[in-house]
């Protein structure tokens, strides 16, 4: 007991490394709820890297996935503030929880010569992407995956000349159980 009580003497608050956090918020899907959430970030000078919203299987419940860059302390404060919102049902930082992370990206890339076209098609197949539009000198490619995969794909396409990119932002769900997670991995 007494050992537990021994306080850690750190003042000011420990400053930890800044990293990317994935925060999942379930909210009542009311009028104005999204503004309430985004203005909470804006009002405190926190930067949102990506934010996705959509309805869930439950009526009047929406799920928001927010990616922010920050140290533990900033993120803890963000979470407390999110919890404080009246329409918030649940908030979780799932960064360190096993989870599935996906983003959908549309990339329009320059593809004039045959050599480039072949090379791009090879990448598309390796990354399990899909060409969704073709023109004389461009391919538009659709790809989904976690941030790492997306970044890697974009990096490899860059030399060909990217003309435009549209990203949805990250979506995430925690893994239900070890068994199912294994299955997920095998599928990949």
């Amino acid at each position: 007991m007494t050992e537990e009580i021994k306080a850690i003497k750190v003042r000011p608050l420990p400053k930890s490394e800044t990293r990317k956090h994935i925060i999942v918020v379930r909210v009542q899907h009311n009028f104005g709820v999204l503004t309430r959430i985004t203005s909470l970030f804006a009002g405190r000078g926190y930067n949102i890297e990506s934010l996705t919203v959509g309805k869930t299987h439950e009526p009047n419940v929406a799920r928001i996935t927010i990616v922010v860059e920050g140290n533990e302390r900033v993120v803890e404060q963000i979470i407390k503030q999110l919890r404080k919102l009246i329409e918030t049902l649940r908030v979780r930082d799932i960064t360190d929880v096993p989870h599935i992370e996906r983003e959908l990206v549309l990339i329009k890339v320059h593809a004039g010569e045959d050599k480039a076209r072949d090379e791009i098609m090879r990448l598309v197949s390796i990354f399990r992407a899909k060409v969704v539009d073709v023109s004389v000198d461009t391919y538009t490619i659709e790809v989904t995956g976690d941030s790492e995969k997306i970044e890697a794909f974009i990096k490899l396409l860059r030399p060909f000349g990217i003309k435009d990119i549209a990203r949805t932002g990250v979506l995430a769900l925690t893994r239900e159980s070890a068994k199912e997670s294994l299955q997920e991995h095998r599928l990949e």
Partner: protein, 581 residues
């Protein structure tokens, strides 16, 4: 059941919620509600400015603990509420603001007197609503009251389009259960974690130099009784924030009075040297902590608060306890009583040391028989009211003197804008307080600068015969700014001189109030005596005081307690002491 207008539904909910007084000022978009008020069994106070109306509702709420209600029209009426809402938000005051909005089909068209009030007030309310369907009106209003008064209280705004107040609807009054069901995510923590409470008790038993640091949460949570029991049982001295004034009887021997920027020497020394700080319903405001790294550097910290977001916000807390303060203190007391300790002996040397600090630098000032010292006016107000008045204050030096030189014995006795620091708060808040507590003498201690920010509403107090006593501490300066300029900007008095004032006595008379003035120390008592005899209208007392008196002690902003300025001559004289125990 007959159909009712939206406006009548509004009145029904107010009555259902037990509201007896509303403050406000009408206009086009809220005229239906005012029409319904015309024959409602409610006291309806017509203010002269919506900001003042909001502060009145706020003062009413702080003095009574009930929800204050303010009404305003769309656009400019609603935007005038902004400062009042922000003030209430920062200090967790339960309030419901009902604003008219342009008819639904005009919303978003830049219609006459349209403003996005829900957008504007989002960051300064606990929650806000735009009613878009008359079916939801009653439920939303009920939710507003529920949110305003539960958990960490705060202001809630309901914006109602005019066509909804006109529309007729056959409604049923929503029950408390309906309200709770409509708010599935809203679950304030009331309980307090038992493991943490045990840990806290253990720390209290072992502490040699503990201090209780008490904020407004103890007042809001009606936990004064429990706090007193805790302090007396464990013999722990108590210092309060400005918002915590009155949570602990300031005439009690264990009272250290206020801490922080204008805290007493002995409170700040005690906190600086403490080995355990028990923060109760307080939020470690920067006016309290000064330089964060050196705030209570030796202390372990226990923090009891209903708002999880307040915990470890800017200070690392060793034992956080989220819960209703009353509830948590009761459990903590129970836990402490399980293992008896010889508290008197345990605290002997610590309390002795604190007495030494108290004797070394008591709260004091240099009296004069030629010129009125502002502190003297406050002391005289304290004497003439037997310490029994409700006191409200504006913001500035007079606010700090009102906090230092009047001793508050009860919760809800001192009302001021602690969080936002709103000049113009004091007098209208006093009007609200007097309406809520008619049996009490209510004093507004005002700066000359603060008072003129809402003095139009003396007319309101005259109209409704509200006998508040306004004591203007008139130094013809924006005094607190002048003090900072003197101390930190080389005495360059930029834009702080208020030498051009109305004649406050004539001003009072022209508005139908009583005006009195004192320019010499010996007149102070006389003026106060006369003011005490007036019971049917407001009194304005113009106390012409020493223009360049400073509020001391003072810890300069962002500095450590060690750098406290104690008296006009000594600078940064505080001492360090880790010797006790």
């Amino acid at each position: 059941m007959p159909k009712k207008r939206g406006a009548d539904i509004v009145i029904d909910v107010l009555l259902e919620e037990g509201v007896d007084t509303v403050f406000g000022l009408p206009g086009g978009a809220i005229m239906e509600v005012y029409d319904a008020l015309f024959d409602a069994p409610l006291r309806n106070i017509l203010a002269r400015h919506e900001q003042a109306a909001a502060h009145m509702a706020d003062g009413y709420a702080r003095a009574t603990g009930k929800v204050g209600v303010v009404l305003a029209t769309s656009g400019p009426g609603a935007t005038n509420l902004v400062t009042g809402l922000a003030t209430a938000h920062m200090d967790s005051v339960p309030m419901v603001a009902i604003t008219g909005q342009v008819p639904r089909h005009y919303i978003g068209t830049d219609a006459f007197q349209e403003a996005d009030v829900v957008g504007i007030t989002r960051p300064i309310t606990k929650h806000n609503f735009l009613v878009t369907d008359i079916k939801d009106l009653a439920l939303i209003l009920r939710e507003a009251f529920y949110l305003a008064r539960t958990g960490r209280p705060g202001p809630v705004l309901v914006d109602i389009p005019k066509d909804i107040t006109q529309q007729e609807y056959n409604y049923k009054m929503p029950t408390e259960k309906d309200v709770e069901e409509a708010l599935p995510g809203y679950k304030p923590h009331y309980e307090g974690n038992p493991v943490q409470i045990k840990k806290a008790a253990e720390l209290i038993r072992k502490a040699k130099r503990p201090v209780l640091y008490v904020g407004g949460g103890v007042i809001i949570g009606n936990a004064s009784q429990e706090l007193r029991e805790l302090a007396e049982l464990t013999r722990i001295p108590v210092t309060t924030t400005n918002m915590g004034k009155g949570a602990f009887d300031e005439t009690h021997p264990l009272a250290l009075h206020m801490l922080g920027m204008h805290g007493t020497y002995y409170a700040n020394m005690a906190v600086y040297n403490a080995d355990l700080l028990i923060a109760v319903g307080a939020r470690f405001d920067d006016r309290v902590t000064g330089k964060i790294d050196e705030f209570a550097p030796e202390a372990k910290i226990i923090h009891i608060d209903i708002d999880p977001a307040s915990i470890s916000k800017n200070i690392h807390v060793d034992v956080p306890i989220v819960g209703d303060v009353k509830n948590v203190l009761q459990k903590l007391l129970k836990e402490l009583k399980k293992k008896p300790v010889e508290w008197v002996k345990a605290r002997e040397s610590w309390l002795k040391q604190i007495e030494k600090w108290r004797e070394k630098h008591p709260l004091t000032y240099q009296q004069s028989d030629k010129i009125i010292k502002p502190q003297y006016v406050i002391e005289e107000i304290y004497r003439i009211t037997d310490g029994e008045a409700i006191v409200s204050a504006g913001v500035g030096q007079h606010q700090m003197w009102a906090a230092m030189f009047y001793k508050y014995k009860y919760p809800r006795q001192f009302l001021n804008s602690g969080g936002l620091g709103t000049m113009g708060y004091g007098f209208p808040a006093a009007v609200g307080a007097k309406l809520g507590k008619p049996e009490k003498t209510v004093f507004a201690i005002e700066g000359d600068g603060s008072f003129v920010m809402n003095m139009q509403d003396v007319i309101t107090a005259v109209q409704y015969r509200i006998p508040v006593k306004i004591a203007i501490i008139n130094n013809e300066f924006l005094g607190m700014v002048r003090q900072w300029q003197q101390l930190f900007y080389d005495s360059r008095y930029s834009s702080v001189c208020l030498a051009v004032h109305p004649d406050f006595v004539k001003l009072a008379e022209s508005m139908g109030a009583v005006g009195l003035r004192a320019t010499k120390p010996k007149e102070v008592r006389e003026v106060l005596q006369k003011a005490m005899e007036i019971n049917d209208r407001p009194v304005i007392m113009d106390f012409v005081v020493d223009r360049e008196e400073n509020v001391l002690p003072m810890v300069p902003a962002g500095k450590s307690y060690r750098e406290m300025i104690v008296s006009p001559k000594q600078k940064g004289e505080a001492e360090t002491m880790y010797l006790v125990g």
